[in-house]
Amino acid sequence: MKILNALITGLAQGSMIALVALGYTMVYGILKLINFAHSEVFMMGAFIGFFAITALGGKDAPVLAGVGGTLAAMAFAGLLGMIVERIAYAPLRTRGKGKANTRVTPLVTALGMSVLLQNLAQLLFTAQYRGYPQLLPIEDTRKVIFIAAFSVMSALWFVVHKTWMGKAMRALSVNIEAARLMGIRTSRVISITFITGSVLAALGAVLYCLDQSQVYPTMGVVIGNRAFVAAVIGGIGSIPGAMLGGLLIGIIGEMTKLTAYSGLQDVLVFTALIAVLLVKPTGLLGKASIEKV
């Protein structure tokens, strides 16, 4: 019973991590870039969700506030993701070609973007913790999280594998130059990848806050780390991999809490990461081959 309860909590926790992990994995799949600002897009999404939910009536109108707040957060985060890409990454890709170290420079700008956004949030919203309005009983929130996360992830899988845009994304992940020569508007595909990842992060953020009650400017660090590890464990670049990694991390975390060593949660998660990478350097579902996304 104890284990079953922890398993359910772990699944809900894990599906939120998975939603965020998708953003890391998609961007890496196409650009070979770890977008460290992703965790801050998550945090910004949580804040916008908070303000929108409060403005729409919060507890008094749970359905309207919940749906409206989530949509507002998703729209805003999508825009933010696109802006981040346009400001911090795109110029390096086009102008820095041949001059900059194309592996390291975008990584550093990503870190810079992350710090910038986090400080901007402190400036705009102050460092204080804010309590999220509780729209649903926690049990129901967890059911909603699970259903929402899985339907969205299935939809994403469908888009990537069955639509023209998905085909373009997969083409970019193989070879951007070749894809452009074939007539794919690569910068638009990249933008859409960032927008999609950010929208999912915002959905994850609102669900996460509804479940765990609070929003604050440094919240992206914790969940961002876990989601990044989830993406790597599952095989970065692979969508089912990110989902699997997220669920694994959620469940490992909750199981650790049942033991006397609850403080070792992150230790175990990172040990699992190292173990997986030692045995299978590409991650659980990652392929050493070319197709990623």
């Binding site: 104890k2 309860n5 309590g131 009650s213 440094t218 660090v221 780390n225």
Partner: protein, 402 residues
């Protein structure tokens, strides 16, 4: 990833300190003017120079400012009464930016440049330790308002405090739970990587066992945790009568909500002074209904001095004082009282007078300085009732009951 976190923290600290600077500069300016123009101060008398080093910017800005407000109020009151021994009091405020290195410099500056006879500060135990070492070395008495770590006053004969220690708080929590409430089966939930939280939990556990309580379940988490359901389920299944949760208010919000969802009402929780924040009431007031915690102070304590302070503070700052403001006020008042009783004007004479303080009537209770230079005083039990912090009782077997 670790490197990245450290970076982020550093930048955040920098940004926050810059903000803090902006936040407090305009407040400072008019204050100094007002003190200079106060007509009740005899112009000829040489003022007493007292130094206060506080976190007026940086991570703990809020605490520093609240403490400063308490000190300011005390200074105005004493100067309105004609000062100490006919001489007005002048406080030199220094901002240590919530930073250990700055603390060292600022305290040295106050002692060597400004030649202060006594020091007030700091809000945090870590920086009070640094200031205490410097003060003790230069033989300048120092009173910290809110450093609760036991080690602070062990530095030497010149370091004092007006708050209770973490040890006392944990023990008094146990006394309240086992003796006053008569609960025997107790659970504990705390943050293992937080010195405050794990320190209180240790003290509580030992004291509760001595008093005949049984710890039926104990769970610890790390500070970054936000999902407590699994911990709460385990605690609930062990069927304790009460759960001691010495946790900061920000973690208490998700705990309270998730506990209520798991069928554990707020009245099952007992905490420490880390709960003392308006935010807790706003965000989890309903879920925390009926919970108790040990504190320095409650807005409605029935002591005459507390009520007078409350009124004066409200008039001046237009809101209820926090624990930190009232402790800052008490640290300054106790110092001025000692200066009045001292047999001379030297820092040594003032030190001796502080050490001899007995039954000083402060806003946070009746304070006697014990041989270890700690404040022997009552601890207030606060109950959360109708989304408000309300006075429930005062506990301490040694101190005089109000």
């Amino acid at each position: 990833m670790l490197g990245r976190r450290r970076w982020v923290m550093a930048i955040v600290a920098l940004g926050a300190s810059a903000l803090g600077l902006f936040a407090c500069t305009p407040k400072d300016a008019p204050q100094k003017e007002a003190a200079g123009k106060d007509p009740s101060i005899p112009a000829a008398a040489e003022p007493w120079k007292v130094g206060a080093y506080l976190s007026l910017s940086g991570a703990e800005t809020q605490f520093g400012i609240e403490t400063k407000e308490g000190i300011e109020l005390a200074v105005d009151e004493v100067n309105k009464k004609g000062g100490v021994k006919g001489r007005p009091v002048k406080v030199f405020y220094e901002d240590n930016k919530s930073n250990p290195q700055e603390t060292n410099n600022k305290v040295l500056q106050l002692i060597t440049r400004d030649k202060v006879v006594a020091l007030l500060g700091e809000v945090a135990s870590s920086r009070s330790t640094i200031g205490g070492i410097v003060a003790n070395k230069h033989k300048i008495p120092m009173i910290t308002s809110s450093a609760t770590a036991p080690e602070v006053t062990q530095i030497g004969p010149f370091v004092f405090r007006v708050c209770f220690t973490d040890d006392t708080q944990g023990q008094m929590g146990a006394e309240f739970v086992v003796k006053t409430m008569g609960k025997k089966r107790i659970g504990i939930l705390y943050a293992s990587d937080d010195v405050y939280s794990s320190g209180l939990a240790t003290q509580f556990r030992d004291a509760a066992k001595k008093l005949g309580g049984e710890i039926v379940v104990e769970k610890s988490f790390i500070k970054t945790e936000t999902n407590f359901t699994t911990y709460i389920n385990e605690i609930r299944d062990a069927k304790p009568e009460l759960v001691y949760a010495p946790i900061y208010y920000n973690a208490m919000v998700p705990i309270a909500r998730q506990a209520k969802a798991a069928g554990m009402p707020g009245s099952m929780f007992v905490g420490g002074d880390g709960w003392d924040a308006e935010t807790l009431l706003q965000d989890a007031g309903e879920e925390m209904e009926g919970a108790y915690f040990t504190n320095h102070y409650a807005p409605d304590v029935p002591w005459p001095n507390a009520q007078a302070f409350l009124k004066a503070y409200k008039e001046r700052f237009k809101r209820d004082p926090s624990s930190l403001s009232s402790l800052g006020y008490d640290s300054a008042q106790l110092l001025f009282d000692s200066m009045g009783r001292a047999k001379g004007d030297t820092p040594e004479a003032i030190r001796d007078a502080i050490a001899e303080t007995k039954n000083f009537a402060g806003a946070t209770g009746t304070i006697t300085i014990d041989p270890n230079r700690n404040a022997d005083k009552s601890i207030v039990i606060v109950q959360i009732k109708n989304k408000k912090f309300t006075y429930f009782a005062a506990v301490n077997d040694k101190a005089q009951k109000p």
